[in-house]
């Protein structure tokens, strides 16, 4: 059809094939959607009135918001009037509409896109609306059409049909207001290389708890609900890595206090990693909890025997010697924490994230700890004398290095016992400046060393310790049992990582080393040499056997009710409107195991999940797993346990406390 065919023929053609745009009018009906203008019966000259274009899609079909999300398209409006000033489109707040693992932003059910009209003269208002829209269920159908509105304009107040005005008023409520009047402020920060945070300043608890936030700019951020951190009052969006972030972003936020649009919020440090700025008081609180967390580590079942034996050895020494010992021990703790802190920061700077307890992700390190604790336990029990000092576990070392070494050891074995305080402090360390992060590590060290630092600073406190005597030997023997218990636990961890094979290898190593100790202890000369050779070669053999398992999939059995963690699957379940509980755990994390045994895997716990149709996923971090590390980072954490609950209503993720109870879980399920 060429252009010079008459317009009449064109019209006829359209009438035949596109009947819905036959005659420009106030309403039209297209595939799966009805569209009409919602306007007053008459306008008042010079007065701004809100007019709407009502879209009524068929059930289950939807139309889109201005950012349509992962796919789809916003409707396009071309508005024109010769005798009125027409404002920009007012978009009601959208809903998240999941499609497979993608998310769209739009409206299921009726929606009115609105704009203001201010007639500039009396007579008849004439408004032309050219429309393009997309209506989708899973399939999408685009549509094009024109609407025309003609209404009298006079000097009387705008006259509405009540029902029509009600439609406008209803949708007007969810149109965002300008952020200037909002009771809180936004700040964008870079969280990790693939996520972006939005921090809320001066926000009321209730507002934050119930808020929802939508990115206005298409393509940069995932339209899926961001992870919410109620404690730090920020949300974390996933970034679309293919797109370079612009210099500013806009968001629409719904809260009980109102709906606001924050336009052009500056994106800070676009290329650098985020540095959360703490004010002095916040920093002090974080540092204080770091000290407290470190102090609590002293009481952990795996650390306590080592600390106690250290305390014993103090009773044997006197005066200045004691103070020197205490200081050396503290120095050992602080040096190790500082080195770990630097290592942690170096990796963070390199763009990677690791988590606390990472030392225990290597089977070889576990083997060494098993052998160490086994040997110590045998020594405590009196099976052999290892040099002269009680604590000379690492061979013939001078006294000072023994104290220093105990400090180092304490840090390593304390690591897996991530207490709740440690979690907070280390989570903060992952997001703050290098200097603050280092301070946090240092304060954890101070906490762990605190009892001995007190002994050193105030030697008088040493008098509170009981007098040395024969009881010390008995107590020492007694403490071998917690150490044996630790060996059992570590063997179990090793079994989780490597299967029964690794467990066997480690047991053979223990047997051989016990034999070597017996051989070396009962005789002199070549037999001692033999003993050393035997012990070293079995260690080497076991180490090389276990090294093969590093990074390989563990032989851990997944209980049937728990699915292995998979982000894609998680997104899918969420899109299907299912509630999901994710258990970020590791075999070497004691808190995790306690929660598992006492809450999650109990009959009552399982029944609770089943009753509410909660899908269970377990992210096992026993061995290093980049995906889990990333998933943790996107939740603002870098240690386990983390318990993430995704409610079935599609609202954001909720992080549950590190010490779980059934009622906490039930509460989270019932009050998403």
């Amino acid at each position: 059809m060429t252009y010079h065919y008459s317009k009449a023929l064109m019209t006829w053609f359209f009438l035949l094939f596109f009947p819905w745009i036959a005659v420009a009018q106030e309403q039209l009906s297209a595939d799966h959607v009805k569209i009409r203008v919602v306007a007053p019966q008459s306008f008042q000259e010079g007065t701004e009135t809100t007019v709407g274009i009502l879209f009524e899609p068929d059930p289950e079909w939807h139309v889109y918001w201005k950012n349509s999300g992962d796919s789809g398209a916003a409707p396009k409006f071309a508005l024109g009037s010769p005798n009125a000033v027409v404002g920009p489109i007012l978009w009601p707040t959208p809903k998240r509409l999941p499609v497979a693992h993608l998310v769209n932003l739009g409206y299921e059910g009726a929606v009115a896109y609105m704009f203001t009209v201010k007639p500039t003269g009396s007579g008849t208002l004439h408004l032309e609306i050219n429309l393009e829209w997309l209506v989708c269920k899973e399939d999408c159908i685009p549509g094009f059409g024109d609407l025309v509105l003609k209404r009298p304009v006079n000097d009387q107040p705008t006259r509405w049909v009540a029902d029509e005005l009600k439609i406008i008023e209803t949708f007007r409520k969810s149109v965002p207001s300008d952020s200037e009047s909002a009771p809180y402020q936004l700040e964008i920060f870079q969280n990790t290389s693939d996520s972006l945070g939005v921090r809320f300043a001066k926000v009321a608890d209730r507002d934050f708890k119930e808020l929802d936030i939508f990115p206005v700019d298409q393509g940069y951020l995932s339209p899926a609900a961001p992870a919410k951190d109620e404690k730090n009052k920020h949300v974390i969006f996933k970034k679309n890595l293919a797109m370079q972030l612009p210099s500013d972003l806009s968001f629409v936020i719904t809260t009980p206090s109102g709906v606001w649009e924050f336009s052009n919020v500056e994106v800070k440090n676009r290329t650098k990693l985020p540095d959360q700025t703490f004010n002095f008081v916040q920093l002090m609180i974080v540092l204080f909890s770091a000290v407290l967390g470190g102090l609590i580590l002293n009481l952990m079942p795996c650390v306590f025997p080592v600390i106690s034996i250290k305390a014993f050895s103090l009773l044997k020494s006197h005066g200045k010697e004691r103070i020197k010992d205490c200081l050396l021990y503290s120095l050992g703790v602080l040096t190790t924490f500082s080195i770990l802190g630097l290592f942690f920061l170096a990796l963070k700077q390199a763009g990677s994230a690791i988590g606390w307890g990472f030392q225990l992700q290597s089977p070889v390190v576990i083997l060494i700890l098993i052998v160490l604790f086994w040997t110590m336990a045998l020594n405590f029990l009196g099976a052999f004398e290892f040099g002269s000092g009680i604590m000379n576990f690492a061979g013939k070392q001078s006294k000072w290095s023994s104290s220093f070494g105990t400090g180092v050891l304490s840090v390593f074995i304390a690591a897996p016992c991530t207490g709740p305080f440690m979690g907070t402090a280390l989570g903060a360390a992952a997001t703050v400046s290098a200097f603050s992060a280092f301070l946090i590590f240092f304060c954890l060290g101070i906490g762990l060393a605190l009892p001995f630092l007190i002994f050193a600073v105030a030697p008088r406190t040493l008098a509170w310790l009981p007098k040395p005597g024969a009881w010390m030997e008995t107590l020492k023997q007694f403490f071998s049992f917690p150490l044996f218990a630790t060996v059992i636990w570590l063997l179990w961890v090793l079994g989780q990582q490597t299967g029964t094979q690794g467990w066997m290898v480690a047991s053979i190593a223990l047997l051989t080393i016990s034999f070597a100790i017996w051989l070396g202890d009962t005789s002199k000369g070549w037999k001692t040499l033999m003993a050393w050779l035997l012990a070293l070669s079995v260690l080497f053999w076991a180490g090389s056997q276990l090294n093969r398992y590093t990074g390989s999939q563990g032989a851990s059995q997944q209980e049937s009710s728990w699915l292995p963690f998979d982000e894609v699957q998680l997104a899918e379940y969420r899109s299907q409107g299912k509630a999901v509980f994710v258990d970020f755990t590791a075999a070497w994390c004691i808190t995790c195991q306690v929660n598992k045994q006492a809450v999650l895997d109990t009959q009552a716990g399982q029944n609770l999940f089943k009753k509410h149709n909660v899908i269970l996923m377990r992210a096992d971090w026993t061995q290093y797993d980049a995906r889990i590390t990333k998933a943790l980072a996107s939740l603002g954490r870098n240690s386990v346990p983390v318990y993430a609950f995704y409610a079935s209503d599609g609202s954001g993720v909720k992080l549950l406390p590190q010490i779980l109870t059934l009622s906490i879980i039930e509460d989270a399920i019932k009050n998403p």
């Binding site: 992962d70 796919s71 789809g72 398209a73 396009k76 499609v99 497979a100 693992h101 993608l102 769209n104 393009e132 997309l134 989708c136 899973e138 399939d139 999408c140 685009p142 290389s193 693939d194 298409q218 393509g219 940069y220 679309n240 890595l241 293919a242 797109m243 370079q244 050992g332 190790t336 080195i339 290592f343 990796l347 390199a350 763009g351 990677s352 690791i354 990472f358 030392q359 992700q361 290597s362 070889v364 390190v365 060494i368 700890l369 160490l372 576990f393 690492a394 220093f404 070494g405 180092v408 050891l409 390593f412 090294n547 590093t550 894609v568 290093y624 980049a626 995906r627 590390t629 990333k630």
Partner: protein, 201 residues
């Protein structure tokens, strides 16, 4: 002992490499291994040394129709195939979902469209689509001869479904290929993809 534990921990954990499951401009393109409609296997490395365009396709998507109905897509395919670019059409629709094709149907459709694409890859598992982070049809990727993604996103800057806007739209794929083939830097390496969602299972 302390040093030993430390160095072991450092060595064994190493620097964890983060594998990103998405095609990001400036980084190596994700590998794939998908059979085309004629039964031939395609991998990224089999096209090494050539410019590659990946075009996500769904015959029933109005936005795909916009570019095929107007002949815009075929014209691009022809222009750049003539210059040695390997143009691969990818279908990630799952079995039973809109746009899914058997090999025969895909071949017929290819002929009917007069498509100049070198092959139609049938990714019904969605594995390749997910690896690239393909969200819409058409979602476009341009890969350079070294195997790095140089463009990812929508085909142009106008997300209207109306073919009339094509002549006035900025075609990012053509711009990327023109610049790349001429050895010039590529100005726009990403844009928001638009269109229908890829019909994954």
């Amino acid at each position: 002992m302390n040093r030993m534990i430390l160095s072991l921990a450092f060595l064994l954990i190493g620097t964890p490499s983060l594998s990103m499951a998405e095609a990001i401009p400036g980084t190596p393109a994700p590998a794939f291994n998908v059979t085309d409609a004629k039964g031939k296997a395609h991998t990224l490395s089999s096209h090494k040394g050539k410019w590659v365009v990946l075009e996500w396709y769904n015959k029933d998507c109005p936005y795909v129709k916009k570019h095929y109905g107007s002949g815009n897509m075929q014209k691009l395919q022809k222009t750049y195939s003539d210059k040695g670019v390997v143009w691969l059409t990818v279908i990630s629709s799952a079995k039973g979902k809109q746009g899914h094709f058997t090999p025969e149907q895909a071949t017929q459709d290819h002929a009917k469209n007069k498509s100049a694409a070198a092959a139609v890859l049938l990714d019904e598992s969605g594995e390749m689509g997910r690896a690239y982070g393909a969200k819409t049809t058409p979602h476009m990727y341009v890969i350079n001869p070294e195997g790095a993604v140089v463009y990812a996103g929508g085909i142009d800057d106008n997300n209207s479904a109306n073919p009339k806007v094509i002549p006035t739209s900025k075609n990012f794929v053509a711009m990327a290929l023109d610049a790349g083939l001429a050895g010039k830097p590529i100005e726009t390496s990403s844009a928001a993809p638009y269109g229908c969602s890829v019909k994954y299972n």
